[in-house]
């Protein structure tokens, strides 16, 4: 049994592409079970000591800036087309800059086709699994991440921003309001300290109180002695043999030199933008539509959640930045209730922006005295942010853009998103509710931001299905066509639900890891 560094021609290793929530969790589980893994990560390891409490600096440090293009009626295409997706290029992927919110999807969301019915223009489907089957994995994921409000883990202290949200929400009749469900230590746990209330969760957690895969799963996997982590290794192409099995990954190192790593099994966890892009760029004579794309659905059904944001200006100080970025949640609107004029639901969140992000990000292009009044009122601002379910739509897709090539000569990802009437109705409802909530808490003025936020939650582009004609992978994320190829990130999600996706991605990765271990132990003919 060899130890790292593994030879490029070692075809007994599992190659995992991407070290985010899905990839890092999978890698940890596989290596603990004795499986040898090469993990290819396009970015580098950024140590928490390198993080700065500086939102714009953090974007430059962490965010994937290789070009992506966009089109469609979504407001990003018009107002902020330079950056249609906000994902991280570093070890840990987007777990470096996430806010830590960890929710289970609701059973009816996993059975959206059954419960919402058919919706014109949408490709709703039920997930090919029993929702109850995920309970065990969600439970494991909550324990792994140290989610507050679960497993006896206390909530973080109440912040000012949450006080505003809670009071406004109660006054307009909401009843399910909480500041729990953070993957952020409220007490020392798992060798990491308690939260210092820095308020820069989304700039990278300097204290390590927030769960980020870069300083949790990855070091644990390395400690098994079976993981070889290759950073600044950009996967370019997955290669297959005449037998239609994946047999390795070609990647570029930091100097642009190409290497080919043989593999027993390949797991793609590059997020729902780069995973389909890689599969499409791996087209061959045998797979002319892209590797594992016999269904034609690789890249399709791209979902990103409906996001919307309203600020209120109060007469007295709030100091919304003094606490976690995700200050608290109102759950009432996450229910299914089509009397509101839309299917699916949305979470309302107290999500602060620091002054730089407020000035630069929440209202692209804003200028003049009407805007600078808000800047000067910064200590008296509070916000409500919507995270809502968007529908899987076949035309909303990640495709290859032949007009734009990356540094390696490969076509970049093009994101096409058209808003659906359901999205518009949901946003309209949210804006009315957010105004009411902030007003009830005492806000005198309101700033309703354009919904031009880049996609930070990327989902759906390699959807699960039981039938190979209607999806890309099976219920365990295994390709219908290429038996030793798995997808291990949010691409496999069939529907988006109203919930931030990370806990679901981790739960699915834990479940997939068990499945892969079983398949390898059985010496399944295909593996």
């Amino acid at each position: 049994m060899s130890r790292p560094p593994y030879a490029h021609d070692d075809d007994g290793v599992v190659v995992v592409i991407g070290s985010g929530a899905g990839g890092a969790t999978l890698v940890h589980e596989l290596t603990r079970a004795g499986i040898r893994v090469v993990l290819l990560e396009a970015g580098r390891m950024i140590e928490p000591e390198e993080f700065r409490n500086d939102e714009l600096y953090a974007i430059g440090q962490q965010v994937w800036m290789d070009p992506r293009t966009t089109s469609g009626t979504w407001e990003v295409a018009k107002l902020a087309p330079a950056l249609p997706a906000l994902t991280v290029k570093a070890v840990g992927g987007s777990t470096v800059h996430w806010g830590g919110l960890s929710f289970r999807m609701q059973p009816h969301e996993l059975r959206a086709r059954t419960h919402y019915g058919a919706i014109d223009g949408a490709a709703l489907a039920d997930w090919p699994l029993d929702p109850a089957e995920l309970d065990h994995w969600y439970d494991q994921a909550e324990y792994r991440l140290g989610v507050t409000g679960t497993h006896g883990i206390p909530r973080l202290p109440v912040s000012n921003h949450f006080k505003v949200l809670w009071n406004g929400a109660r006054r307009i009749g909401y009843r399910h309001i909480d500041n729990g469900r953070h993957a952020i230590n409220s007490r020392p746990r798992d060798g990491r300290p308690a939260c210092l209330q820095l308020g820069f969760c989304t700039s990278g957690c300097k204290s390590r109180a927030k769960w980020s895969a870069s300083y949790t799963e990855i070091p644990a996997a390395l400690a098994t002695g079976r993981l070889e982590l290759r950073t600044t290794a950009m996967a370019l192409r997955i290669e297959h043999g005449d037998d239609g099995r994946a047999h390795g990954v070609v990647y570029a190192d930091a100097d642009g030199r190409h290497h080919a790593q043989r593999a027993r099994l390949v797991c793609v966890a590059a997020n729902a933008v780069e995973t389909p892009r890689l599969l499409l760029n791996s087209a061959s004579a045998r797979f002319p539509q892209g590797l594992a794309n016999g269904s034609g659905l690789v890249g399709r059904h791209f979902m990103r959640h409906i996001n919307a944001l309203v600020f209120g200006m109060f007469e007295r100080p709030v100091h919304m930045e003094r606490g976690p970025v995700a200050g608290g949640i109102v759950y009432d609107e996450a229910r299914l209730d089509t009397d509101r004029g839309f299917a699916g639901g949305y979470l309302m969140q107290a999500a602060h922006a620091g002054l730089p992000a407020f000035a630069a990000g929440v209202y692209p292009g804003a200028w003049g005295a009407a805007f600078t009044r808000w800047i000067e009122a910064y200590p008296r601002l509070a916000s409500v942010w919507a995270n809502g379910e968007d529908l899987p739509i076949e035309g909303n897709a990640v495709t290859l853009d032949p007009r734009v090539r990356d540094a390696h000569g490969l076509p970049v990802a093009h994101l096409h998103i058209d808003d659906h009437a359901n999205d518009t109705a949901m946003r309209r409802h949210f804006f009315a509710q957010a105004h009411a909530l902030l007003g009830a808490a005492g806000a005198q003025e309101f700033l309703q931001c354009p919904s031009a936020f880049p996609a930070a939650h990327t989902m759906g582009t390699c959807r699960m299905s039981a039938d190979p004609a209607t999806g890309v992978v099976d219920a365990f994320g295994r390709s219908h066509e290429v038996p030793n190829l798995f997808v291990s990130d949010g691409s496999t999600m069939v529907t988006a639900g109203a919930e931030n996706p990370t806990l679901t991605i981790v739960a699915l990765a834990l479940r997939q890891a068990e499945h892969i271990r079983d398949l390898l132990a059985r010496r399944d003919g295909a593996l």
């Binding site: 700065r52 409490n53 500086d54 714009l56 909530r155 202290p157 109440v158 912040s159 000012n160 949450f162 006080k163 505003v164 809670w166 009071n167 309001i177 909480d178 500041n179 729990g180 939260c195 210092l196 209330q197 820095l198 308020g199 820069f200 300097k206 204290s207 007295r316 100080p317 709030v318 100091h319 930045e321 003094r322 606490g323 620091g354 002054l355 730089p356 407020f358 000035a359 630069a360 292009g365 200028w367 003049g368 005295a369 805007f371 600078t372 800047i375 000067e376 910064y378 200590p379 808490a441 005492g442």
Partner: protein, 166 residues
């Protein structure tokens, strides 16, 4: 402290701006043109992001750092020179001499131009990534340096305390 920082930035900016226009010391016309560009840009930055409490020197320093970028960015230099000249022309030759309402209207009419956006985005970033500006407007900035808000969190006292589920 604020004045010293502004002075230092002004001094650095002026030095770089002077270096960006070679021969400015000996060419009076070019020097006057550069000074006029600086004056118009300074007034423009304040119109874009007006704060009564920020000094003219603050805005002048922002104009200087923008002009300093033109030495390494010919496209920006061209955009600025052309945009400033066009703005003056639209005001009958002297934008600075127009009444405030007209100055603002002429500027706003050019919002979708590359010139406007170049000045706007530079000004916005220069102002709102400045810790001195943060301090003036009550934004805490770097929390790590002060050990976080763990002792202050939740100190808002003008709303009732939330009641949380067990």
């Amino acid at each position: 402290m604020l004045q010293r920082r502004s002075f230092l930035r002004l001094a650095i900016g002026l030095t770089l701006a002077a270096a960006a226009t070679p021969g400015a010391a000996t060419d009076d016309a070019a020097g006057a043109r550069a000074a006029h560009q600086r004056d118009v840009l300074t007034a423009m930055t304040r119109l874009l992001y007006p704060h009564d409490g920020l000094s003219d020197a603050t805005y002048a320093a922002i104009a200087d750092t923008l002009l300093a970028r033109t030495s390494a960015d010919q496209a920006l230099a061209t955009t600025l020179a052309a945009g400033l000249a066009e703005l003056d022309a639209a005001a009958g030759g002297d934008w600075l001499g127009a009444v405030p309402a007209e100055r603002l209207a002429l500027l706003a009419a050019r919002e979708s131009t590359a010139f406007f956006q170049a000045v706007r985005s530079h000004t916005m970033l220069a102002l709102y990534t400045d810790p001195a500006v943060w301090a003036r407007f009550g934004y805490g900035g770097d929390a790590w340096a002060r050990g976080g808000y763990v002792n202050d969190v939740g100190d808002l006292d003008w709303l009732p305390e939330p009641e949380l589920p067990q």
